[in-house]
């Protein structure tokens, strides 16, 4: 039996994964005229869409370039707000992972890719490298497009020739886009320049930190819609990118792919707006209700001074819940600085007005200060007892069990101290 007929017969046993996408792809009849091998299919259509070609050793890739004035409004800001953000970072003394201190906005490129599949395997091909960057009066969006599998050398060669920046700005690029780019680069590393080491601002983590309670999934489109005031019209959803690309490879007609190109263009523009907005939050130039998260982040980074200032700002605000959280956090800081009086006052308030967990923690902290600093054992005992009371009204969890054990132990010790007056 011939190999081909055997293949046909056994097809049912194979997993070929060629089922159609779940949503229809807008496909048009083939319009391509048979063209000679040397020329580029639909070159005219590409040209009409600001796209030229980059040729190299009989292969080529497509490069699209469009320009926006810096006054262009994308969502709640114009693009030049990002420049302002960079200048402001340069003016402060504290540090942060997203701080562009020491950089100019011209040193940054706002970067996003489109790929033929999901996940990080070697075979997941990047077919579009898109990025935006600043000039004095304009912002350029440039996109390098793979015309078919196999032409990656011109794609990466042109990219590496043109990208001469210090720091890339991405959305989840640390986990996905950049490692994937490194992977594909490794496959042709003997033919193209090596990859420089870039700085990297990944805005996904920052967005998650600030808004994870505000949306289901902190995806870029959700951030656009809920935070940045960007509503996309006729956007081609990203999950269709692989189907559209393979359809393009087969038919060569750019029409479908132009939708993906537009999608990518909006993505990189959004990165500019998002960087400006995140910076404003972190620099606390605007209060948009995220000061508490920002303060916590600085505290986590060890930027105590900035953290304390931000907490104080929350404390001065009028959101009662956030004020309690800030007071609670500040009290811990005051305790560390041995300003026990201030800490006690803050915790006394938290122990009355905070959420259950905060009240328990405040009472425990009060109990500690009364016991160890002020030797007021009966006050200490009272606080521990109240904490236990609140705790018993809550459900069970591992953390609460440990707390309960700890409190019982504390009470026992305090009872002993009360009997002996602390002398034993």
């Amino acid at each position: 039996m011939s190999l081909k007929s055997k293949l046909g017969r056994l097809k049912g046993h194979m997993t070929l994964n060629t089922e159609a996408p779940s949503e229809p792809v807008n496909s048009n009849p083939v319009r391509e005229k048979e063209e000679g091998g040397a020329s580029i299919p639909f070159e005219q259509v590409w040209a009409e869409h600001s796209t030229g070609t980059y040729k190299m050793d009989g292969q080529f890739c497509l490069i699209r370039e469009v320009h926006y004035p810096v006054d262009y409004q994308h969502g709640i800001y114009t693009l030049k707000e990002a420049r302002k953000a960079v200048e402001e970072w340069n003016a402060v003394s504290y540090t942060h992972p997203l701080s562009s201190k020491g950089l100019r906005v011209e040193d940054m490129f706002f970067f996003d890719t489109e790929t033929t599949g999901l996940g990080g395997g070697v075979g997941n091909t990047i077919f579009l490298l898109g990025y935006a960057f600043f000039h004095e009066k304009t912002v350029t969006v440039r996109q390098h497009i793979l015309p078919q599998p196999g032409f990656e050398i011109p794609l990466y060669q042109s990219f590496l020739e043109k990208v001469n920046y210090h720091t890339l700005v991405t959305y989840n690029g640390k986990a996905f886009d950049w490692p994937q780019l490194k992977t594909r680069h490794t496959l042709i590393r003997d033919h193209v320049p090596r990859l420089p080491d870039y700085g990297h601002f990944d805005l996904y983590h920052a967005s998650r930190r600030l808004w994870k309670d505000d949306m289901d999934k902190v995806k870029l489109v959700n951030v656009e819609k809920n935070i940045l005031g960007i509503e996309r019209k006729d956007d081609v959803p990203g999950f269709l990118a692989p189907y559209i690309f393979f359809d393009f490879v087969e038919r060569k007609d750019p029409e479908g792919l132009l939708g993906i190109i537009r999608h990518n263009e909006l993505d990189v523009l959004t990165l500019i707006t998002l960087y400006a907005h995140l910076s404003k939050q972190l620099l606390q130039k605007e209060t948009t209700g995220k000061s508490l998260e920002v303060a916590r982040w600085y505290m986590g980074l060890g930027e105590k001074e900035k953290a304390v200032r931000t907490y104080e700002r929350v404390l001065a605000g009028n959101n009662a819940e956030e004020r309690m959280a800030a007071a609670h956090a500040l009290a811990f800081q005051w305790k560390r600085e041995k300003q026990f009086g201030k800490a006690v006052n803050a915790w006394l308030e938290v122990s009355k007005k905070g959420k259950a967990e905060q009240r328990i923690e405040a009472l425990i902290e009060l109990s500690k200060i009364y016991e160890h600093q002020e030797k007021e054992y009966s006050k200490a005992r009272e606080c521990a007892d109240s904490a236990l009371g609140i705790l018993s009204g809550l459900g069970n969890s591992k953390k609460r069990e440990t707390m309960e054990l700890d409190l019982l132990h504390r009470l026992k010790r305090l009872d002993k101290k009360l009997k002996t007056g602390g002398w034993n």
Binding site: L7, L10, N17, G117, V122, G123, F151, T183, T186, L187
Partner: protein
Amino acid sequence: MIGKKSLSELIAELRKNENIINWHEIEPQEAKTRPMPASVDYRIKSSLEKRGIAELYSHQYTAYETLQKGENIVAVTPTASGKTLCYNLPVLQSITENDANRALYIFPTKALAQDQKSELNEIINEMGIDIKSYTYDGDTSPTIRQVVRKAGHIVITNPDMLHSAILPHHTKWVSLFENLKYVVIDELHTYRGVFGSHVANVIRRLKRICKFYGSSPIFICTSATIANPKELAEQLTGNPMRLIDDNGAPRGRKHFVFYNPPIVNKPLNIRKSATVEVNNLAKEFLKNKIQTIVFARSRVRVEIILSHIQELVKDKIGTKSIRGYRGGYLPKQRREIERGLREGEILGVVSTNALELGVDIGQLQVCVMTGYPGSVASTWQQAGRAGRRHGEALILMVASSTPIDQYIVQNPEYFFDRSPESARINPENLIILVDHLKCAAYELPFKESEEFGPLDVKDILEFLVEEKVIHQNGETFYWANQSFPAGNISLRSASQENVVIIDQSNTGDHKIIGEMDRFSAMTLLHDEAIYLHEGVQYQVEKLDWDHKKAYVREVDVEYYTDANLAVQLKVLEIDRTEARQKTSINYGDVSINILPSIFKKIKLTTFENIGSGPIYLPEEELHTSAAWLELKEIDPDLGEKTLEQLLLGISNVLQHVVPVHVMCDRNDIHVVSQIKANHTGLPTIFLYDHYPGGIGLAEDVYKRFDQVKAAAKNLIRKCPCHDGCPSCIGTEIEGINAKQRSIQLLDLF
């Protein structure tokens, strides 16, 4: 209480047992050693000396010296002969010579990999050199993974992980692939059949990637005794191999005893159940605190024996020290049992062939096999579980009533003189090959001129282009699909999805207790089936076939269940035919439709049939290779009914004989007889591979049919029954002289 009996005392007693039909002693062997080669690094030398190894056994020495010459080796080594040093020594040596050198160890299971890491790290610690060895498997945490990829000198993994996690992400392993000096494949003999065919293709992919990064590793394989270690290693790795089999390890005296249960029904030649005999024999050893392993042929059998033995000895030693071991137990449970055996807390274990593998459970004193394990190689593997370097060991094979068991115990020379079987793989099975070509194209673009095994793969590449899985650009094929191909390909079984077994005995606390492949689930996990797990009986309340879940509940019943399959068979294409006088032998492609029909309830104590029920499951279709025997001229005196029974009888014999001759599990090859085959209307017996596309077993039968025929005739002739019994042609025969007629019929082929 009277003191315990020693193993020697028990052996002396056993010698008087009238059911022993053959007693074979294997003489002890002195060690054959060679001095440590001068080139070995002093730190390795001193660390080995600390472990009491000042010299090498002859096979270890030859392995080392051959590898130094740059040749690939396959070392054949029995259990407990120090095989790990055959690869650890050259690998460690190469790293002491150049810190950049890397090695990849491949073990068939995660458990074996874990064992190895501990042993290897002990040596490394004593050497005082910073050599990093890591296991890389599903349990490795993401943070460690980074370190393993960048800095692991020795990466220990399994073929599945190599296939789905390492090769498709090779760009994260640049330092490994650029510097790969050795690839170690341990337990080579386990890579046979479907699994071996897959792994051969995984190795092709591995070698492609090494070539891309400029390395060309030397392969070190180790294998238990099989007939064709060199051939298998060469087929699996695609490299020429040097065979190393001068085993120099010492061993103590071994008693290899065949035990045939007494006949209880003379005319039908029915013997006492092997299971019952095994229970009683094992009890004697366990009562005297002698560490014993009992092997059983199936998962069900393991559970039955386990519950009986636990019951028999519960007053003496407690049930906790007797455990079961088989596929379907969760890894954690298995690790715990292995450790218990090594440390001696567990006295007895009842296992399927899962413990044939080199999992470290220490060396036990007694091995009891419930029936012939099915192949000479497998028998020696199981026997290897008993026996220490010094002191006596006992191996006891208790025959069942099946024809092959009876044949073996009554013809001991067949077993002891026979070379073990060959392990066969068919890496060119189209389904398997296509699967791995996809993975290969995903990993690196595929050049038209590139080779991938002996077959010209151009047709397949073009087929994949048509199916839009890959894209051709000039002379190169590129992956052009959104999927991750390795994710959909399992190396272990024909069916991709396993059925998960969920215990819902406690409302609100449903627990997953195991899993099973799809084909086994059809017969073991259908609605109402009794499923045994760790000696506990469960009844299947519902098998959700669409979602591959079986819901079970604990029960306490007096029976187990046994399922029947209805099989339909169509010949698609005849590839080869050999015409004989009145018959023909054929080989080609067939399609088979399998439908489980009914199940029987069988009483545990008497094995009688006490009821049955239907099984409602969808039909499964299988395209595969088959060999078939056609009867072209029929003796008109032979009634159709009689002929049908004779064919059935011969099928029964072939089903027993063939797995022995082509080295496969009973389940890998199926035998079906038809009085009127669909394609010719002639009486026909089919033997087919139970895997889509075939794995070369039926082809082997076709090629060696005369040998198979001779074995079948011999079996019928030597069976002591009057005229047909379950041990040979079965009991369905009414006509007189059925044995004689079966032999005559076989002679026609």
